[in-house]
Symmetry: C2
Subunit: 434 residues, 2 copies
């Protein structure tokens, strides 16, 4: 029978997620071994920070600060990269792949920027790279797209893929607090970084969207082709008005494929309150997948954190172990190209419905002036809501029917030049995904 | 390199799901071949109904009414059983496994009753059996439990696993119609069978719960050990009262593991309206999984229908094909035993919160009498709600704190004997899954 009874693993990066992997691999070691018929064994844990290493409940002989000890060990066929960042981590991964080792990583930023190159190196060296943990932590969305839904084309994938933003928007909605106040609290609680830009400006969501889009459509869509807009400009008033109109505001990653082109975009979005995603609150993530065979499916779970993410890392290690045992390292390759004429749609040509919040003078004729600009651009208005105000500046909310993004933005530029318009108009996209 | 460029498939049963498999395998044939690096090829489609066969858009040479032609073909290593039922289907599956063929099936009833025996036959013949399509149609929950969440113990799994019941309860809730009326409409629309018992009495849900519980806990929990209660007794009044109290009523399958024992139960359940599962309406299914590593995750999608189910069948075929190509047929076996001391908890010892709806005389002292019975049984009342009525018989709703099921049922038996109680008390369980 088969000789492989134990997979020797080299783990590089003993931070939050690395520590979680050590903890959970130890905790459920017997169960995992029963299920797989082989043991996942940490042969090396490498970190340059001695204090981190010391804190791990592992024998000293396992710990090292020398990455070469891990990479150079011929008895370690799998390297787990949990260093993060795009510099050192990339070198480490390329080095490991170059030696024919299998790599498991949670590094979404690196894959979003350099995935195409890294996947090619994996293929060239007849090895493999697993990255379930890179998108939405514990949710097995990568496996679902590649295996569970292998029979499907994906006209639409969308979701809440950043827990920090969802936490902030949820609390703004529940407690009627402003963005800055909630962000400060989130930072205090550890739900947002001291430098929160990666999350709240949508960058992290776009990393994940790029990975999902590329996998789903079989060509590298490229981070630079994703449209990215964060949540800094979403105000308490927008959340309240949206609620009155029957909507919740969520930061969504949206991947649509129509007319032979794929669009990838991240932006705050009004979705109907009755939509399942509207009930996803706090730090949770949820990804909706529309397959041409399976119909609509949604995956919900913790998108970050040591435990949830290590669940995904360990699942990847299990796949790697079974493949190694069976001599089928590339059973499901890191990336499979399958669209012959890849084409991306830019944000200019994206079609959406829109929510506009104008700040206008409280006098007659304002709506007529604004409507004329929209009408001239062939953009039709679905509804208008004028809110009361104690000052002479009143909020005017317009819901627009489906229009091209470029046309709407151009019209808003014109609207903002009108003398009756007193502040920059807030533009949010509206989707119901029917 | 590898010789297998095509997997020859023998499909038995060309009904609704079988037809869906044919349609979708044909429709996305090139895409699937690109993704897998090999082709899924229908060599035989077998059905004893000539009209069904004639309706399929396949060459005549593929169609047969002779099962032995499929089973006896040495060039067909995989048989798909979509006949349904537990008689002929079982013989077919055991015959195929006995010849070393891999079996793919959607047959939840058969697996719930005879899974243990069938899995053993698969193991004995060094072959495999795939059954993603048997639980919740297109939702890849089997793969998630076995692979995506391989690192996890599962203290709790629960979900809406029967679309017919969820459709009926959703429409009762939305349209304030009674059970019988909605059932009749569901039958007209094809969402419920002419003989609806398998669905509305909870049997189908319990089949699925048995399969999930066994997989999750690594021993065969057995269909007969599941507690099963359907939705016939859920009234419009219960739905309305529940809503007033902040709850929705859903038919749930619940698999809890605590204190070294596993409980499997299916019954209508009050869950908080803010719970994600409360927003799962219509024919959709959703399964929530609590892993000790991953935390809470939920999978949502279409639980039935030709297309959704065939998405799962094709995914299983893809796994079977890759395993055959790589000579690792039993890569992830049909079943892996991993709990050494399997123990089931019967419904008597299950702990839950409860909703009681009594029908009582409209006079003083009633609540005192009822409360005394509960108090004597050490069951504490969380809240009481008396509804107005135009008659002398009024509904009295009591929400109970956590108690043992047997104790509550015994107390209700006593309550129903009180002279002030005028009808059989409705007992529903309440869960918040916090």
């Amino acid at each position: 029978m088969n000789p492989l009874k134990q997979l020797n693993i080299g783990l590089v990066g003993a931070g939050v997620v690395g520590g979680g992997v050590v903890k959970n691999l130890t905790r459920n070691a017997d169960l995992i071994a029963d299920r797989l018929g082989l043991r996942l064994h940490l042969k090396w844990v490498c970190d340059k920070d001695a204090a981190r290493l010391a804190a791990l409940p592992l024998p000293k002989s396992v710990k090292t600060d020398d990455m070469q000890q891990v990479l150079g060990d011929p008895d370690v066929p799998v390297v787990v990269e949990l260093v993060g960042g795009t510099g050192f981590a990339k070198k480490l991964i390329l080095d490991a792949l170059g030696r024919g080792k299998i790599v498991v990583t949670a590094n979404k930023a690196l894959l979003a920027h350099d995935g195409e190159e890294i996947f090619k190196v994996a293929a060239k060296n007849k090895t493999n790279l697993f990255y379930e943990a890179s998108v939405c932590g514990g949710i097995p969305i990568i496996k679902a797209l590649r295996e569970g839904f292998v029979a499907n084309q994906f006209p639409l994938i969308y979701g809440i893929v950043n827990g920090t933003c969802n936490y902030i928007l949820s609390r703004m909605s529940e407690e009627e607090k402003d963005f800055d106040e909630v962000l400060a609290e989130a930072q205090k609680l550890g739900y947002a970084e001291a430098d929160p830009g990666l999350d709240i400006d949508g960058v992290d969501s776009a990393h994940k969207a790029t990975i999902l889009a590329s996998l789903a459509h079989g060509f590298w869509t490229g981070y630079d082709n994703a449209y990215v807009e964060g949540i800094r400009h979403v105000s308490q008033m927008d959340i309240q008005v949206a609620r009155e109109l029957g909507y919740a505001i969520k930061l969504l990653a949206i991947i649509k494929s129509t007319n032979e082109a794929v669009e990838v975009r991240v932006h705050p979005t009004l979705i109907p309150q009755r939509h399942v995603l509207a009930s996803v609150t706090g730090v949770f993530n949820a990804v909706a997948v529309r397959g041409d065979v399976v119909g609509d499916a949604i995956f919900y779970g913790r998108g970050a954190g040591a435990d949830a993410t290590s669940s995904a890392v360990i699942a990847d290690l299990a796949d790697a172990a079974l493949n190694l045992r069976d001599g089928s390292i590339q059973r499901v390759p890191a990336f499979v190209s399958h669209r012959l004429q890849p084409k991306m749609r830019t944000i200019d040509d994206v079609e959406s419905r829109y929510y506009l919040r104008l700040t206008v003078e409280d006098r007659a004729g304002v709506i007529a002036k604004v409507s004329k600009v929209l009408g001239d651009a062939d953009i039709s208005i679905a509804s208008v809501l004028q809110r009361e105000s104690e000052t002479n500046r009143v909020p005017l909310i317009m819901m627009l029917h489906t229009a091209k993004d470029r046309a709407v933005r151009d019209a808003v530029t014109q609207i903002d030049r009108l003398d009756v318009v007193k502040d920059k108009t807030v533009v949010l996209r509206v989707e119901s995904f029917d």
